[in-house]
C-alpha cells in the first residue's frame, strides 16, 4: 500500500488492573488501515476484538487503560488526548456502529432529533440545513419515506431499520474512519446482507475507512479487503482476505476456517479446535495457542512468536520459520 495509512496502531497494550494483579488484555497490537479500506477483525469471544475498537474510539471502560503503544489518526496521535478533545474527534472523524441498534439509540427522542443534534454538534450548520442533511442521510441508508420517519421514535423501527439509523448517525459528520463492532450480529441473514452491502457502498462512495469487528467469517469474506485474526489479546495472522481464508498459515486460522460448516461440501464431522480460549489470568507461556494447537512443538511452549512474513500473509507462528526444518 503506497498511500499513507489513515489509522495506524503501534504496539498497543491495554491493561486491566485488578486486585489479583494486572491483566493484560491487549498485547502488542499493530495494524494500519488505508483510506477507503475495510479491515476485518475476527476471533472468538474474549480475543480482544471489541476492546481494540473501544481503545481506538477512546471509550475503554475503566479500570481498563492504554498502558503502551500509540494510535495515530491521519498522522496525529489520538490515544493521549484529553477527554474533551477526544470527544470532538469521536463522531467528527471517527464514527462508531455498535452491535445492538436498540441500545445505541435514545428511546425518548425522535430519530430526527438525534440525527440533527449529532450533525449540529460537529458541523457549523443551521437547524434547517441539519434537518435536510438528516433526511438525505436516511435516504442514503435506504430508509423509505424519510421525511415522515424522521419524526418517529426508535421503537417504531424494525431491527434492520434501526441499524440503518445507527449507520446514518455514524455517517452524520462524514467521518474518515468508522469502527463497526458486530454491526450485523443481532440481525437476520436476509437483513444482514442488506446492511453489509450498504456499508460497502457507503464506504466506496465516501472513501471512508472501516474497521469491522465480527466473529462471522462469511461477513468478513464479503466485506473486507484485509483481515486480522486475534487470539488471546494478540494478532496471530493478518493479510488480504482471500489469502487468510484460503491459504492460512497459522494453525488457529486453519482451525477457525475448518470449523465453519460450508455450503458447498459434505463432511460428516466438522474440524474442531479442542478446548477453549484461555482466561486472561491464565494465558499459557510461549505461544498462547500452544495447548490447543495440533502442530505444537517444543519451541512453542517456551518462546512467544511475533508476526513474521508467511507468504501472502503475516503470521505469529513458529511453524513459519521452523516448519520446513522440522519436516526435513
Amino acid at each position: 500500500m503506497s498511500m499513507t495509512p489513515l489509522l495506524e496502531v503501534r504496539h498497543l497494550r491495554v491493561e486491566f488492573p485488578s486486585r489479583r494483579g494486572t491483566l493484560l488484555a491487549l498485547d502488542d497490537i499493530s495494524f494500519s488501515i488505508a483510506p477507503g479500506e475495510v479491515l476485518g477483525v475476527v476471533g472468538e469471544s474474549g480475543a480482544g476484538k471489541s476492546l481494540t475498537g473501544s481503545a481506538i474510539i477512546g471509550l475503554l471502560d475503566p479500570p481498563g487503560r492504554i498502558a503502551g503503544g500509540e494510535i495515530l489518526l491521519a498522522g496525529q496521535r489520538i490515544d493521549n488526548l484529553p477527554y474533551e478533545q477526544m470527544r470532538a474527534i469521536r463522531g467528527r472523524k471517527i464514527g462508531a456502529i455498535f452491535q445492538d441498534p436498540l441500545t445505541s439509540l435514545n428511546p425518548l427522542y425522535t430519530i430526527g432529533r438525534q440525527l440533527i443534534e449529532t450533525i449540529r454538534t460537529h458541523l457549523p450548520v443551521s437547524d434547517e440545513q441539519a434537518r435536510a442533511r438528516a433526511i438525505k442521510l436516511l435516504q442514503e441508508t435506504g430508509i423509505p419515506a424519510a421525511e415522515q420517519r424522521i419524526e418517529q421514535y426508535p421503537h417504531q423501527f424494525s431491527g434492520g431499520m434501526r441499524q440503518r439509523v445507527v449507520i446514518a448517525l455514524a455517517l452524520a459528520a462524514e467521518p474518515q474512519l468508522i469502527v463497526a463492532d458486530e454491526p450485523t450480529t443481532a440481525l437476520d441473514v436476509s437483513i444482514q446482507a442488506q446492511i453489509i452491502s450498504l456499508i460497502r457502498r457507503l464506504c466506496k462512495e465516501h472513501g471512508t475507512a472501516v474497521m469491522l469487528v465480527t466473529h462471522d467469517m462469511g461477513v468478513i469474506a464479503e466485506t473486507c479487503d484485509r483481515v486480522a485474526v486475534m487470539y488471546a489479546g494478540r494478532i496471530v495472522e493478518v493479510g488480504p482476505v482471500g489469502d487468510v481464508i484460503h491459504r492460512p498459515s497459522h494453525p488457529y486460522t486453519v482451525g477457525l476456517m475448518g470449523s465453519i460448516p460450508a455450503m458447498d461440501e459434505d463432511r460428516e464431522r466438522l474440524l474442531q479446535i479442542d478446548g477453549a480460549m484461555p482466561r486472561l489470568d491464565a494465558v499459557p507461556k510461549g505461544c498462547a495457542f500452544n495447548p490447543r494447537c495440533p502442530q505444537v512443538f517444543e519451541r512453542c511452549r517456551h518462546e512467544r512468536p511475533d508476526l513474521i512474513d508467511a507468504g501472502p500473509t503475516r503470521a505469529a507462528c513458529w511453524l513459519v520459520t521452523d516448519g520446513q526444518r522440522r519436516a526435513a
Binding site: 446482507a193 460448516p261 474442531q272
Partner: protein
C-alpha cells in the same frame, strides 16, 4: 416406511395480544391475535433430523415449544410414537411421554440455574422421574452423562459460571439426555456460541445421534449449520411452512422463492468479493399479515393471484411447497 416417531398435523397456536379490557372498551380497540403458528404439518422418522429454518418471528420456537408441551395448541395435533400428546388426560402416560422427549435451549447462560451445582442440574431429571434408587447410582449416572458429552466426572462440584459457553451447552445436553429420551428438540443450540465451539457441540450432537439413535428437531436460522446436521429441512415464513424437502433437494434445487432468497443471502466464505443479492424488504408485522401468500410483497414472482389467494401446502414432484408460481410452473 415405518411409522414416524413424531407426527404433527395442522398445528396452530394463536396468542391473544389484545389491549387490556378497559382500554378495549374506552378506546374501542378490537381484540388482536397473533397467529404464531398457523397450520404446520410434518413428520420425523426415527433416528432422523428435521431442521426448521426461518427469520426471527416466523414461529420456529413456538413449534418447538408446542412439541414438548410447553404450550398447548390452539388447533391440530402432535402425535408422539402414535399417541396424541395433548389430547390425553392420563397423567401417568403423559409423564412417560415427557421422559421420552427433552429440549435443549438456545442460551446456555439463561437455561442453567446459577445457584445449582452441575450435580443437581444433571441429576434433577433422574430423581424427578424416579430413574435412580439411591445416591450412589445417581452419582454414577451423572458422571456417565458428563463423560458422554466430553466433560469430566469431577465437574459435578462446579457451578455453571465456572464453565465457558460451549461447556454450558454440553451440560444442557447432558441434562436433556439424563432421562434417555428418544426425541430431542433443539432450539438454536449453537447460535450463542463461537464457531469453533459450535463445531464441538455439533460434532457431539452427531455422535450422540449415531450412538443412541436419537431423533432431532433442530431449529436454527443458520442455513450452513442446518445443511450440516439435518436430513430434512422445513422453511417457515410467518407461522407457516412454505417448503419441506430432503436436504439435498432443498439446497440443490430450492423451489419456493423465499427459500431461494434465504440461500442467496448466506455470506459464503468461499466466494469472497461476490456481490450477493440482498433480500428486498423485511418480514411483515405478524399482527397484520399480507393477504394471500404472506410472502407476496417481497416476492419477485408475485402476481395478482398471489396477493389474493393463499397457496395450499402440497406435494409437487417429490417436495412439498406452498407457492402458486411453482404450482403453475412459472418458476
Amino acid at each position: 416406511m415405518s411409522n414416524p416417531l413424531v407426527e404433527v398435523k395442522d398445528l396452530a397456536k394463536t396468542f391473544d395480544v389484545s389491549a387490556p379490557w378497559l382500554n378495549r372498551v374506552v378506546e374501542r380497540k378490537p381484540r388482536q391475535f397473533v397467529h404464531a403458528v398457523d397450520g404446520v404439518s410434518f413428520a420425523i422418522q426415527r433416528g432422523k433430523t428435521l431442521a426448521l429454518v426461518g427469520e426471527s418471528g416466523c414461529g420456529k420456537s413456538t413449534v418447538a415449544r408446542l412439541l414438548v408441551g410447553l404450550y398447548s395448541p390452539t388447533r391440530g395435533s402432535v402425535q408422539f410414537d402414535g399417541k396424541d400428546t395433548h389430547g390425553s388426560t392420563d397423567k401417568a402416560q403423559l409423564r412417560i411421554m415427557r421422559r421420552r422427549m427433552q429440549m435443549i435451549f438456545q442460551d446456555p447462560y439463561a437455561s442453567l440455574n446459577p445457584r445449582w451445582k452441575v450435580r443437581d442440574i444433571v441429576g434433577e431429571p433422574l430423581t424427578e422421574h424416579g430413574l435412580v434408587t439411591d445416591a450412589d447410582e445417581l452419582r454414577n449416572r451423572v458422571a456417565e452423562l458428563l463423560l458422554s458429552v466430553g466433560l469430566a466426572a469431577a465437574d459435578v462440584e462446579k457451578f455453571p459460571h465456572q464453565f465457558s459457553g460451549g461447556q454450558r451447552q454440553r451440560i444442557s445436553i447432558a441434562r436433556a439426555l439424563a432421562t434417555q429420551p428418544e426425541f430431542l428438540v433443539c432450539d438454536e443450540p449453537t447460535s450463542a456460541l463461537d464457531v469453533s465451539v459450535q463445531a464441538q457441540v455439533l460434532n457431539i450432537m452427531k455422535d450422540l445421534q449415531r450412538q443412541r439413535g436419537l431423533t432431532y428437531l433442530f431449529i436454527s436460522h443458520n442455513l450452513a449449520v442446518v445443511r450440516h446436521v439435518s436430513d430434512q429441512v422445513g422453511v417457515m415464513y410467518l407461522g407457516r411452512l412454505v417448503e419441506l424437502a430432503d436436504k439435498a433437494e432443498l439446497f440443490g434445487q430450492p423451489r419456493h422463492p423465499y427459500t431461494r432468497m434465504l440461500l442467496d443471502a448466506i455470506p459464503d466464505i468461499h466466494m469472497s468479493g461476490r456481490a450477493r443479492t440482498p433480500v428486498q424488504g423485511e418480514v411483515p408485522n405478524p399482527l397484520s399479515p399480507p393477504s394471500g401468500c404472506a410472502f407476496h410483497p417481497r416476492c419477485p414472482h408475485a402476481n395478482a393471484r398471489c396477493s389474493q389467494e393463499r397457496p395450499a401446502f402440497k406435494a409437487i414432484k417429490g417436495i412439498t411447497v406452498a407457492c402458486h408460481a411453482v404450482e403453475e410452473g412459472r418458476i
